[in-house]
C-alpha cells in the first residue's frame, strides 16, 4: 500500500533552509488524580516537530499516545495533572489558562480523530460544523464562512461541495467523512496538525487515499504534523522522524528510517518483527510476548523488562533516554545496529 506515498528521503537529502520548530514537548508528564492520589499515565515525553515535518508517535494501545496528544491540545481530562513544558511557535503554552489554551485550538492546532463517524456531530450539518468553527475562529460572516467551507471541501477532494455542506455525517462514506474531518482541522490555518490514528477506522484502499491527502496538505501548507499510529509501514513511508512510546515512556526516538530499519530498543524491534513483511523470507511472525502492563502496575526499573529477552539485573533500575548509534534509546542493552 506504500507505492503511492512519495518517499520523504528526498526531503532529507536535499539541502534545506533552517526549518522553524513548531512544537516542542519537553519532559511532558501526565497523571490522573483519583481517590487514591496520582496515577501516572505518561512520564517524561520529549520531542519536537518542525514546519513541514511529520513526526510519528508509535506504540501499542494503552501506551499513552493519545493522552499525550490531548495534553498538547489542552483537552486532557479535568483531573489530569500535567508537568513539563509545551512550546508552540516559540511560545510556552503549557502554563496558559484553559481558556487561553482553547483559543489556540483550531487557529494554531488542528485535530484529526480516528473515527470520523463519531468525531463529527451526528445532527448538525457538515456546513454548520465548519461555519461555526470558521465564524468563531476567523470572525467570518455566515456567507464568507460558507464560501470558505465549500473551498475547503473542494480542496480535500470532495465533489459537489455545496451539497455536502447541507448533508450530515451519516450520509457520507468513511473516506468522505475523514476528508471532511481533515477540511475541518485545516480550516482555520493551523501550523500544527495532530492526527490520532487517522486511517485506522478506514478500508485499506481508502487509507492510502487519506494518507496521500494528508501528505499533500502537509507539503502545500507547510504543516507540522504529529501522526499517532501503530502502523509501522505508515511511519516509514510517511513520517520523517519517529518517537516510540511504551508504558508512558519514550523508549526510542530518531529518524523514522533508522527506527524502522534498525531499531536499537528491543521493544521497537519487537514491533517491527510482529508486522508481516512483503520482501523477506520469514513465514512466521514473532509476537511480543505478554501485554503492556496496565497503568499503575508498571515495574520499578525498565518498564519493558518483564517482556524483554535481553533483560538482566541491571534492568531493575530505570534507564535514561540516551543516544546510541543513530537514535536516542531508553535501554541498558540496546541492539547493535544491524544495517
Amino acid at each position: 500500500m506504500t507505492a503511492h506515498v512519495a518517499p520523504l528521503a528526498v526531503d532529507l537529502v536535499s539541502p534545506q533552509p533552517e526549518r522553524r520548530t513548531v512544537l516542542a514537548v519537553e519532559n511532558l508528564g501526565l497523571s490522573l488524580r483519583n481517590a487514591d492520589g496520582l496515577l501516572p499515565i505518561v512520564t517524561d515525553v520529549s520531542f519536537s516537530i518542525r514546519e513541514g515535518e511529520a513526526v510519528a508517535l508509535v506504540g501499542e494501545s494503552g501506551c499513552g499516545k493519545s493522552i499525550t496528544a490531548s495534553a498538547i491540545m489542552g483537552i486532557a481530562p479535568d483531573n489530569a495533572v500535567i508537568t513539563g513544558t509545551i512550546t508552540l511557535n516559540g511560545k510556552v503554552i503549557s502554563g496558559l489558562s484553559p481558556r487561553d489554551r482553547r483559543r489556540l485550538c483550531g487557529r494554531h492546532m488542528g485535530f484529526i480523530f480516528q473515527e470520523p463517524m463519531t468525531a463529527l456531530h451526528p445532527t448538525l450539518s457538515i456546513g454548520r460544523q465548519m461555519t461555526d468553527t470558521l465564524k468563531h475562529n476567523l470572525g467570518l460572516s455566515q456567507a464568507e464562512a460558507t464560501n470558505r467551507a465549500a473551498e475547503l471541501l473542494d480542496r480535500v477532494g470532495i465533489p459537489r461541495a455545496r451539497d455536502i455542506l447541507k448533508g450530515y455525517v451519516h450520509e457520507l462514506s468513511g473516506g468522505m467523512r475523514q476528508r471532511v474531518m481533515i477540511a475541518l482541522a485545516i480550516s482555520c490555518g493551523p501550523s500544527l496538525i495532530i492526527a490520532d490514528e487517522p486511517t485506522t477506522a478506514l478500508d485499506v484502499t481508502i487509507q492510502a487515499q487519506v494518507l496521500d491527502l494528508l501528505d499533500d496538505m502537509r507539503r502545500e501548507l507547510n504543516l507540522a504534523m504529529l501522526f499517532i499510529t501503530h502502523d509501522l509501514e505508515v511511519v516509514g513511508d510517511f513520517c520523517e522522524r519517529a518517537v516510540v512510546m511504551y508504558a508512558g515512556d519514550v523508549v526510542e526516538r530518531g529518524l523514522s528510517d533508522d527506527v524502522v530499519r534498525a531499531p536499537a530498543h528491543p521493544y521497537a524491534r519487537g514491533l517491527i518483527d510482529a508486522v508481516p513483511a512483503h520482501d523477506d523470507g520469514r513465514t512466521r511472525l514473532t509476537p511480543i510476548l505478554g501485554t503492556v502492563p496496565p497503568v499503575g502496575q508498571w515495574p520499578e526499573g525498565c518498564r519493558f523488562a518483564p517482556r524483554c529477552a535481553r533483560a538482566d539485573a541491571q534492568c531493575q533500575t530505570r534507564p535514561a533516554l540516551e543516544q546510541h548509534g543513530r537514535t536516542d534509546v531508553r535501554c541498558w542493552h540496546p541492539l547493535e545496529e544491524n544495517a
Binding site: R102, F111, F113, T123, L124, D132, N137, C188
Partner: protein
C-alpha cells in the same frame, strides 16, 4: 419530512380510539344503571324503562357502539345525562383549564428540570451536584397531593402570596390568572421536574464523553457553544421523551390537583361524571384527553425530527 409526519399522524388514530373503546366497554359493563340513578329512589319501573329507551340504553351493545361511533364522526357526542345539554358545549368550559394547567406545569417542569440538570452536570461530584441530586430524589418520592398541601400551607396560608384555591381565567388578566395557576402548576410539575433533572444530568454527562464534543473543543469553540449547541442538541432528546410522558401523566394527575385547588377542570368534571354514570360526558372527556395527548405526541415527534435529521430519513 412530510411523509414522516403523515405516518406519525396516522398513528394518532389508534392512540385516540383504543382508550375510547375501553371506556365505552367499561362504562357499559359496570354495574349501576344511569336511568335509575337519575330518576332517584321514587321512580317506577315504567319511568326508568322510558328513560332507558330515550337514552338508547335498551339497544344491544354493538348498536350503542355504532351509534356512538357515528356521533364521534359527526362531532355529536350527545347530551349529558346530568346537565341535559350537549357534551360538545360542556367540554370546552372545562378542558381549557386543564390544558392551561398542564402546559404551565410542563413549562415549569422543563425549566426547572433542564436548568437544575445542567447545573448538576456542569458541577459533577461537587457539593452543588450532590445537593441537586438529593433534592431530585426527594422530589420524585413526594406525592403531588402532599406537595400541593405543603405549597398551600406555605405560600397561601402562611405567606399569603397566592390565593388558597379558586380559578381566574386568562381573560381576567395575566396576573390574576398567574396567581391562581402558579401553585397548582408547581404542585403538578414538581415530580416531573425532578425526573427531568436526573434525565438532563445523566444524558448531558453521557454526551460530554462523546468524541464529537472533543472535536468541537479541539476546534476552539467556546464552552458555551460546545454545551449549548453541540451537547444540548443530543442531550435534550431523552429529556423531550420524558417531557412527553410527563405531559400525559400530568393530564391524568390533574384530577387530584384540580380537586385540591378547586379548579373547574376536566379532571374534576370527569370524576363527577363517572360518579353520576353520565356516559356521554365521560366519553367526551376521555376523547378530549386522548386528543390532547395525541396532538402533544405529534408535536414531540415533530421536535425530534427537527433536532435529529436521521429520524427524517428512516
Amino acid at each position: 419530512m412530510l411523509r414522516y409526519l403523515g405516518k406519525r399522524f396516522l398513528l394518532i388514530l389508534p392512540t385516540i380510539f383504543v382508550p375510547l373503546i375501553l371506556v365505552f366497554l367499561l362504562l357499559r359493563l359496570s354495574p349501576g344503571d344511569p336511568a335509575g340513578m337519575m330518576l332517584g329512589d321514587q321512580a317506577t319501573a315504567e319511568q326508568i324503562a322510558a328513560l332507558r329507551t330515550q337514552l338508547g340504553l335498551d339497544q344491544p351493545i354493538w348498536v350503542q357502539f355504532l351509534l356512538w361511533l357515528k356521533g364521534i364522526v359527526t362531532l355529536d357526542l350527545g347530551n349529558s345525562i346530568f346537565f341535559r345539554e350537549p357534551v360538545m358545549q360542556i367540554i370546552p368550559r372545562y378542558a381549557g383549564v386543564t390544558i392551561l394547567l398542564t402546559v404551565v406545569a410542563l413549562a415549569l417542569a422543563v425549566l426547572i428540570g433542564v436548568s437544575m440538570g445542567l447545573l448538576s452536570a456542569m458541577n459533577r461530584n461537587k457539593p452543588i451536584d450532590r445537593g441537586v441530586v438529593t433534592t431530585a430524589v426527594l422530589g420524585i418520592s413526594l406525592p403531588e397531593f402532599w406537595f400541593a398541601l405543603l405549597l398551600i400551607f406555605l405560600f397561601a396560608v402562611t405567606l399569603r402570596w397566592f390565593p388558597v384555591a379558586g380559578y381566574n381565567p386568562p381573560s381576567a388578566g395575566l396576573i390574576a390568572f398567574g396567581a391562581t395557576i402558579f401553585l397548582p402548576a408547581l404542585a403538578l410539575g414538581v415530580r416531573q421536574s425532578a425526573l427531568m433533572t436526573r434525565m438532563m444530568r445523566s444524558s448531558m454527562l453521557d454526551v460530554l464523553n462523546e468524541p464529537y464534543i472533543t472535536t468541537a473543543r479541539a476546534q476552539g469553540l467556546p464552552e458555551s457553544t460546545v454545551i449549548g449547541r453541540y451537547a444540548m442538541r443530543i442531550a435534550a432528546m431523552p429529556v423531550i421523551t420524558v417531557a412527553g410522558l410527563s405531559a400525559g401523566y400530568m393530564l391524568g394527575g390533574a384530577v387530584t390537583i384540580e380537586i385540591i385547588f378547586a379548579l373547574p377542570g376536566l379532571g374534576r368534571m370527569l370524576v363527577e361524571a363517572v360518579g353520576r354514570r353520565d356516559y356521554p360526558l365521560v366519553e367526551g372527556g376521555v376523547l378530549t384527553i386522548s386528543l390532547v395527548l395525541a396532538v402533544l405526541n405529534l408535536a414531540i415527534d415533530l421536535v425530534y425530527a427537527i433536532l435529529d435529521p436521521r429520524i427524517r430519513y428512516q
